[in-house]
């Protein structure tokens, strides 16, 4: 069996993208504004990260209109859900290995995306 670090997915591993996929793993779909506010991001930062995830086939983006107002809905694809599950499993295994199988804390603090600038 390979070392957990070998199973980390560079596309999903970034903190903002992990956050996006985590929200979408709970909801069927979320709109752009919800994701931006929940993750504490700017429009540009969220757009860049969504583009990376869409190109990898991890999210599907649907643009709709509510009356005359445009709205962007994002949902995770099956591949995206699997990638998130594999990433979280690898992180847990990595942490278990480092900390002698100690369980990860159940709660965290702060906005996940606060420091999560998308790479160029």
């Amino acid at each position: 069996m390979s070392h957990p670090t070998a199973r980390l997915d560079n596309t999903v591993h970034q903190r903002v993208r992990l956050g996006i996929l985590t929200v979408l793993s709970e909801a069927d779909r979320a709109d752009f504004t919800y994701l931006r506010d929940a993750l504490g991001l700017t429009d540009g930062n969220l757009s860049r990260n969504l583009q990376v995830l869409e190109e990898a086939g991890y999210v599907a983006i649907e643009k709709t209109f509510e009356g005359k107002r445009p709205r962007t809905w994002v949902s995770a694809t099956k591949t995206g859900e699997q990638a998130l599950a594999a990433e979280v499993a690898a992180l847990r295994e990595l942490l278990g290995g480092v900390e002698g199988k100690r369980e990860a804390p159940r709660r965290g603090g702060g906005a996940l995306g606060a420091s999560g600038e998308a790479p160029a």
């Binding site: 956050g19 909801a27 069927d28 919800y34 509510e66």
Partner: protein
């Protein structure tokens, strides 16, 4: 990645997951609505006899279902977050059909519609991952079985009243929990 950073990331993901789940919680509205309808049905049964509540539910049940679906739709647009609707719609339709069919049964099986309601809300509770709704459903099912087995009457007055109070209490509790920090 350092262990502390990994632990922090996993903790933040879990926090985000719980926040999203809490925001998605929408069961309080149908619980309070159908709790109120149940109490009206109990009053009707006490005043006009048990048959009256059957006619009342035939009208109030589907009307309540439409109100709930409109509520979920409005909430989805306001919040910008949604769950798939089809499991809820299938459960609601199955629940209404089961109540209609089981409504023709006689004692001790006259509690059949209430067992169907408890089973329906058990599914809704599982869909929303609401422990409170699951516990409420199992408790109400046990109470309905006890009423049927012990042949306690009048069934419709007792069970509509008990279900009404339990639904409203659980709905209010779930809503209060949603607004916890």
């Amino acid at each position: 990645m350092y262990a502390t950073e990994t632990a922090q990331t996993l903790g933040e993901l879990e926090w985000l997951r719980l926040q999203t789940r809490r925001r998605l919680e929408g069961l309080s509205f149908p619980l309070v609505l159908f709790g109120g309808i149940s109490l009206v049905a109990a009053a009707l049964s006490a005043a006009l006899g048990e048959d009256a509540q059957g006619f009342f539910w035939a009208l109030a049940g589907p009307a309540g279902g439409v109100a709930v679906s409109l509520h979920y739709r409005r909430r989805e647009l306001d919040l910008g977050l949604s769950r798939a609707a089809w499991p809820y719609i299938c459960t609601a339709v199955a629940l209404m059909v089961a109540c209609f069919v089981l409504g023709f049964l006689e004692q001790p099986w006259s509690v059949g519609p209430w067992l169907a309601v408890a089973a329906g809300y058990l599914v809704f509770g599982a869909l929303e991952r609401s422990a409170a709704a699951i516990v409420m459903s199992v408790t109400l099912a046990a109470l309905a079985v006890a009423v049927g087995v012990l042949e306690i009457t009048p069934v419709a007055v007792i069970l509509n009243a008990v279900y009404g109070v339990a639904f409203i209490a659980t709905g209010v509790g779930v809503r209060a929990r949603r607004h916890e920090p």
